[in-house]
Subunit: 327 residues, 2 copies
Amino acid sequence: MKEANRLKIDVWRESIDRRMLAWIDSQEPASLYEPMRYAVTAGGKKLRPLLLLLFGEAVGSDPETLFDAAAAIELVHDFSLVHDDIMDHDSLRRGRPTVHAQWDESIAILAGDCLLVYAFRVLSSVPSPHAIAAVQRFAEDIIGVCEGQAYDKAFENRDSVAIKEYTNMIGLKTGRLFALCCELGVLLGQGTPEEQKQARQYGLQLGFAFQVQDDLLDLVGKQEILGKDVGSDLKEGKKTFLILHALENGTPELCRQLYAFLHQKNLDERDIQQVIGLLTETGTLQQTKKVIADALTKARAALEVFRLTPARGILSEVLELVEERQA
Amino acid sequence: MKEANRLKIDVWRESIDRRMLAWIDSQEPASLYEPMRYAVTAGGKKLRPLLLLLFGEAVGSDPETLFDAAAAIELVHDFSLVHDDIMDHDSLRRGRPTVHAQWDESIAILAGDCLLVYAFRVLSSVPSPHAIAAVQRFAEDIIGVCEGQAYDKAFENRDSVAIKEYTNMIGLKTGRLFALCCELGVLLGQGTPEEQKQARQYGLQLGFAFQVQDDLLDLVGKQEILGKDVGSDLKEGKKTFLILHALENGTPELCRQLYAFLHQKNLDERDIQQVIGLLTETGTLQQTKKVIADALTKARAALEVFRLTPARGILSEVLELVEERQA
């Protein structure tokens, strides 16, 4: 990414942070606002709110008018992380204790609830003739995210999940929030209905590619960049896109071997290499890369309806960054 | 209450139920929508949405146009019960297992989240020029409810709570949602700003009276009507309005005795009668009744700005019902 663009993005990130903190700056009750502020100051890429700002700029809007909507998006993202971490019993997030680990579950439930309500409060305050439409779309897509999370939890208790079910789940859990960000940028930026539709398509495809690539990088990512063990999904027995693809396309004997690895505790480096061998045999690694590339191609095509602006340029670069990312 | 009014209220209750279920009628994922439907079909008085409909009618609006807003209010109330039950480790609600007891905590967190988001979805769909103002007020007051819940949980871990802190807490946790219902009825029913202000006042005072009376009835209610043991708050060591009043107004010796009962396990009928004796000594029972009556008087005064309609009549009767209730 060009240096000037990188600087702009950094300034935007800081503005989003400041805007979120300005909304939740109450001192009392400290037992509620301290964990809320903790949750929103954990860093992170801020990819979702940045997409909203970029699509707003792409349709000719001043990003300054969109920072509240961007903050609302990040508040929802943070809400979902706080509650997901409770459900997944995760005690670390971005190198710090999760909210329920730092305080307790009750506080984490309540802090998450309140972040979600603040997101609606912030979004509904946006001075735009489209504010009510934005709130409607916001609610619809967050319902989709909840549905995706419900499928994800339900899949944990099932032995087999069809790849179609899995892609539907990540389309809801990850895709819908990405689609929402992109669409809101156009909607509040007063773009055309066609631009709105294409922005949504870009977000859905990008979110999908992003999630499948997460699954891929867990197995083939470089450990030093990833900051976590290679194969950690596999060690937890998670049904990722790769595993499900292999189970759907492998011979009965190969599936039997794969299930054995999934149920085995304490997989070592050699086991993981063997799994990668099996996934190569089924064509899974190649097919996964193709699925990611196809989604990114669709996302790129969705940009064609937008005028050639620096913002469109950055949105295009984002796709390259995702395609090339190693971690 | 007059028979005709009672019949009208019963019909409204059914309409609210039907409207809620119509919004959350998705079949998949069943792991999400089944607990959501379970949570909203537990019965209950529907007092909050009924207040919204009554205030709407009091300013000349057709209740038919307000059922969605009323359903949104009840969805929020149900969301808060589902999450509060997790935080309070309660396994029974209205005679049935709570959502987290029937399924598990993860599902209850997610079902509560989704009910909350549906509330915003339903409210934002109301075809009214005031829809966005309604969403803003909705979010602000639900934030108040979250703050009230945070204080309530924080008080559990404190040995002393000032009565002023306690009344502030119930003003947030109970009063704000009541105020919201009443105000939304006027706002969406296109009443005047003065009517909006007075409706809010009615709700705040009614909610306050309702909560303090809950505390009172726990000690002096008739067991067969209450459907639970008399003194159950006391047995759990809860700091109710009555306990805090007595601690603030009793002699050091009386406070010592009261603390002893609060920390004692397995209180019997005789202990409870002794506590009632202490609360009589400090003038607490009398003062509590006065506080409730004063709040209801303020609520009654707030009705004066409204024209004399059957709806205003029912809102007035509601205050009498609260004053006279035995359980």
